[in-house]
Symmetry: C2
Amino acid sequence: MANLALGLHGGCGTLDRSLMSEDDWAESRQHIAQALRAGWAVLKADGRAIDAVQATIMVLEDSPHFNAGYGAALTENFDHELDASIMDGATLDAGAVTSIKRVRNPIQAARAVLEGGKAVLLTGAAADQFAEQAGLTMVEPDYFTTQRRIEAVKSLKQRALTGTIAKASEAEKHGTVGAVARDSQGHLAAGTSTGGFNNKPLGRVGDSPIIGAGTYAKDGVCAVSCTGQGEIFIRRVAAYDVAARMIYGGQSLKQASDILVHETLASHGIGAGMIVLGAQGNPLAPYNTLGMYRGWIGTDGRMTVATHHDLYELGDA
Amino acid sequence: MANLALGLHGGCGTLDRSLMSEDDWAESRQHIAQALRAGWAVLKADGRAIDAVQATIMVLEDSPHFNAGYGAALTENFDHELDASIMDGATLDAGAVTSIKRVRNPIQAARAVLEGGKAVLLTGAAADQFAEQAGLTMVEPDYFTTQRRIEAVKSLKQRALTGTIAKASEAEKHGTVGAVARDSQGHLAAGTSTGGFNNKPLGRVGDSPIIGAGTYAKDGVCAVSCTGQGEIFIRRVAAYDVAARMIYGGQSLKQASDILVHETLASHGIGAGMIVLGAQGNPLAPYNTLGMYRGWIGTDGRMTVATHHDLYELGDA
């Protein structure tokens, strides 16, 4: 029996600590812990890795602290276009949605596409409709909107006018949630969900719903979920490149994921991070930014949560 | 200076020869030759590989014999949702569009996204709008519709009612166009364009617009464009897997592409094909179906066109 393990990221666009209120910071860590407990409960009950990934991501989607579901980034039109994907490492089955507007939990929509079996990727209003027919909880588009995101887009538009767009913080540019899990059968799974980035162009799709770019899982190799400027992850086929380096190049998970984050992706000058998990052992969470919301429950059943450099060991999950 | 080379596919959903009229068959071969000449003219004038790919694909998009642009497959709603992508192996720049409805040449829209520099992938009405603002030729959605596709969808719907859907031919299910090129500077490029498949579900996106799945190019390694059931190509990250086998596993282009088409993809029971091109040498066109529309101009400047098993050597391009 494989060692159970679960990991998540909440985006590598973490704010500078000095810009976060103590309350916001504490609550974001609580929500990370809550998400980990939701996924862990699935794994402890001999549930499937893919169900644990979904349960973990749903908690993050429901939290306003992360850029997915409720609290997601706003487009240039002040609305939301949400993307998500999920992959089962046991079968290489996958499901994904892009530019959906009405499904409360986009990761559920991705899962519904996977279970539907007729497509891997659905986009736009047809994807919302598919999710509705699959019985998922639908919401009005403004359900996802928080005051913080409205302020962020207003600020970005103002700075674009005054030519100071380059100063947009990582927190305004990036953010995504994702999870990886290994279950009692040794199966792996990965999933990712995002609102993109604040003030994003209409119709823009990043790496999060792209199997191989933002999400990848294959039993016996690894499970990967990415965060950062999605265009580069697509061009670098980043999530699958971690797996390919292991499969064909004999690299370790740590080597492969470190090279991607600190060399391949960093060479484009972008912020990047990943949560990754191997066939055995604990999750790894490389990132090249100021911080990355992240957490994991290792093979010893103990939980770790972090936002910046310091790790918070929270004991038994 | 590298050897110039150009290759294309027009989909691995070739009809059984006995079902093709002599005229249709001859004209489809003529259009393949015409597409090759368009791309070759770019390469001979010391043009860029990516421009040759685009020029080649535009001819195929304008031909009713292939499932892209004019003559593209129809969705279940009897309209068109077109996908395309293009990648520059020199820079790993890429552009792609999904579910567009009004751009005459979807590969131009993908190129415009690449040149725009703000996104790699745009979807839906926003992608059409982006293309229009980029000055591309726009058409009414019914421009793409041919009688042959209407009949095909009607027939598929009828057979679905009577439970004989399994008998849908490969030609009704698959079809896509793509090209790969190597220019006088040794740069590689690849592109793919498709209407999906007849009677496809609304919102469904296959591998053609997905960098790493349907299209991939990297200088010094290979250029790849795929055709076949896109869902499997996405799950197998097929186009990039060819490159990864070469980069990390030291496989030859022939080994890598043959394994993908005849083992990896075939193991899912699907029809699959690719046109691939290496850092040197002639294009290869592996496929596991009855036939694949294909053609290339090799390093000796001589043109070959084929639809089924037999190759037609057409002499100097």
